[in-house]
């Protein structure tokens, strides 16, 4: 993935914009909390509470946020491992929001998921060949030279030895297991891959290998990625656009370059300033924004803006009126009554 100049990006964008891979509107997932003998619903965990975004073909959109922000749940909603409570998920023009399992099955060829934990996401009792080959059998996909050959080609594609076809997951390292997981998702030549924290369980030196692999595959196979991650340095490296989530909502959505250079939402600003930088000389100079307290519970999010309880600029309106996700002049979308760094967006 190479950086394009602003002019180049503008020229490319209209053509890409015509091919929307995924369109999400008003997406909500509420998990009911049940109490008592009769299991009455006494409340709901509003894990995802109103998301609107689209993903263009060939791009990498990242969802970032801290624990409880709803990013993992969002990933599962996009792959229909969970069914939304409200709203719509439209994949290449097909509304998949409430499709039955049978109707979803053919579409599962197009959307696949890479999971975070390379240890629990592979069946320890199946060989690697069985794990990757299962996709072909389940989808009754025809192969040119048989399933075994197709699987070996995939192992090669992700940088593993095709002769390890008959080995079990425990015989591989964490990084190699993650590659197996990636090979599995590629079996059916999907168009969209949702990667949930694909490298956070790996050592630093292995992370770089897997990140490079994902990028190479995207270029070779024309893949679209939705990346879910909390490591902001990794996210900046791999993403075209980034959506920052907080307590079930998107608070900022922008192209990666602008988000990191001029963040507008106070939460994004705080998040970026909290990342420890590997430069000891910066230690005393950097002004870090310290957020007080913890993230509120998704069982009872604060009224008004959800970030108001921890925001240093919160005013009365913030505590009563929820700010909508609105586009600034630069194309940045921010949900804030008093966004930061807005001088940067003022016309020259």
């Amino acid at each position: 993935m190479t950086e394009t100049t602003p002019a180049g990006a503008e020229a490319e964008a209209p053509a890409r914009r015509q091919e929307t891979m995924l369109e999400v509107s008003g997406l909500r997932k509420h998990f009911p909390v049940r109490r008592g003998l009769l299991q009455r619903a006494v409340g709901a965990v509003k894990a995802v509470d109103g998301l609107d975004f689209s993903v263009t073909k060939g791009e990498t959109l990242s969802l970032v946020g801290e624990s409880g922000c709803g990013k993992t749940t969002t990933g599962r909603l996009l792959t229909r491992l969970l069914e939304p409570s409200h709203g719509r998920v439209v994949l290449e023009g097909n509304d998949i929001t409430h499709l039955s399992a049978a109707k979803l099955r053919p579409l599962r060829r197009d959307v696949q998921m890479v999971f975070q934990d390379p240890f629990s996401s592979l069946n320890p009792r199946h060989t690697v060949g069985t794990i990757i080959g299962a996709a072909f059998k389940l989808q009754k996909m025809p192969t040119e030279h048989g399933v075994k050959r197709a699987v070996q080609d995939l192992l090669q594609l992700v940088g593993l030895n095709p002769e390890h076809y008959n080995r079990y997951p425990h015989e591989f390292s964490g990084g190699q297991r993650q590659r197996i997981g990636i090979a599995r998702t590629l079996a059916l030549r999907p168009k969209l891959i949702v990667a949930d924290e694909p490298v956070s369980a790996l050592d630093v030196s292995i992370q770089a290998q897997v990140i490079n692999l994902l990028e190479d595959l995207q270029e070779e196979l024309g893949l679209t990625y939705v990346m879910i991650a909390h490591d902001l340095s990794v996210v900046r490296h791999v993403s075209d656009r980034v959506a920052v989530m907080y307590l079930g909502k998107i608070v900022e959505l922008a192209d990666a370059k602008s988000l990191y250079s001029t963040p507008h939402h106070p939460y994004t600003v705080a998040l970026l300033s909290a990342v420890p930088v590997p430069d000891p000389t910066r230690r005393t100079k950097r002004e870090r924004i310290r957020l007080s307290g913890d993230v509120p519970s998704p069982l009872s999010p604060p009224p008004g803006c959800r970030f108001s309880t921890r925001c240093w600029k919160a005013q009365d309106i913030c505590r009563t009126t929820e700010p909508p996700l609105a586009a600034l002049r630069t194309g940045h979308q921010v949900a804030c009554h008093f966004p930061e760094n807005t001088e940067a967006t003022a016309p020259a």
């Binding site: 950086e3 030196s205 490079n212 990794v234 909290a274 990342v275 420890p276 000891p280 870090r288």
Partner: protein
């Protein structure tokens, strides 16, 4: 009396297993003064966590040789009773995952009080007040009521603060923090790192922070020790390790991380291969199978374990390549590509 509170000399920790001898730590030496922070950096299997467990005497079934001196007292070979008296009182540890490190059946207050009363003859009331003071000191709101809460009733960041309170209850002179923020969100991580720095200044503790995160170590450490395959690869002042690293493994770590403070690069430069097995540590230099400069050592890297050589100013590295060669490689080949 030595100015160093903690001194390790040629520490070896080996575990005999059915598959062979696991050489988790294989010849580690370093010293640490009070008021200073040492960052131990390494990936899985580098031996960093076993080092801290060995210092605290928490290894079971291990063959330990070498010296560990805590305030002049030798720990290797000391009886379990002697070490138990020191643990909590003169040295304490903060573990990685507070949810698994804190006992789920006891309140946080009970766990802090237990540690305090083990080393101090005080009444329960006095100990309870101390626990409440500590919880307040680590920034837990409403400590008088939270002291009676169970670990699961705290959020991740609060649990970690509670664990820090427990570790500090007896004012230990040495604090070991093993990946204290890995399980936490980045904004909470920032709070915890600030807390550790403040408390260190207040208690003048010697702090060892063990982590794989170079950003965290840059924030906290005065000196950095890079471990690989159970051995020391490089050691030096933090600024020097980042600006003038002298070991190919350190170069590899710095090159494989995406960084927010640099221009976005097109491609990361990973270290090829995987960390070594500690049962079958590669002969010679443990890093040679993954090192891009191994051929320049004339075969020494595959047969001879490199000595840790000091460059004269306290910056040490274990590499067969000559110091001048490494300086040149860093300036001309590695640094421009970071």
């Amino acid at each position: 009396m030595s100015e160093f509170f903690l001194e390790l000399k040629d520490l070896r920790v080996h575990f005999p297993t059915a598959d062979g001898l696991v050489k988790s730590v294989d010849g580690l030496s370093f010293s640490l003064e009070r008021g200073k922070t040492l960052g131990i950096v390494g990936e899985s299997g580098s031996g960093k966590s076993v080092t801290s467990l060995a210092i605290l005497g928490l290894h079971k079934g291990a063959q330990v040789s070498g010296e560990i001196r805590l305030g002049g007292q030798e720990l290797v070979g000391a009886s379990p009773e002697e070490v138990r008296l020191l643990r909590g009182k003169r040295m304490a540890m903060i573990f990685q995952d507070p949810l698994s490190a804190l006992h789920p059946f006891y309140t946080v207050g009970q766990q802090i009080i237990e540690a305090y009363r083990l080393h101090n003859k005080v009444t329960k009331q006095v100990a309870r007040k101390h626990a409440i003071d500590l919880l307040a000191r680590v920034g837990i709101p409403q400590p008088q009521s939270r002291v009676d809460d169970y670990p699961h009733q705290f959020s991740g960041g609060m649990r970690q603060r509670a664990m820090i309170a427990m570790a500090l209850s007896c004012d230990p002179e040495l604090l070991i923090a093993d990946e204290p923020t890995t399980a936490l969100d980045v904004t909470v991580q920032a709070q915890i790192l600030d807390l550790i720095l403040d408390l260190q200044a207040e208690f003048r503790s010697a702090v060892v922070i063990i982590t794989h995160d170079l950003g965290v170590v840059a924030e906290l450490a005065d000196d950095i020790l890079v471990m690989y395959g159970g051995r020391m690869a490089e050691y030096g002042p933090a600024a020097e390790i980042f600006e003038q690293p002298r070991h190919p493994y350190t170069w590899g770590l710095l090159g494989s991380m995406p960084r927010l403070d640099r221009e976005r690069s097109d491609r990361l430069t990973p270290i090829p291969g995987t960390p070594p097995s500690l049962i079958n540590v590669p002969p010679g230099c443990a890093f040679h199978p993954r090192c891009g400069y191994a051929e320049r050592t004339g075969g020494a890297s595959t047969t001879v374990v490199p000595e840790l050589a000091d460059d004269g100013s306290g910056h040490r590295a274990a590499c067969h390549l000559a110091l001048e060669t490494r300086k040149r490689i860093w300036e001309s080949e590695v640094r421009p590509n970071l």
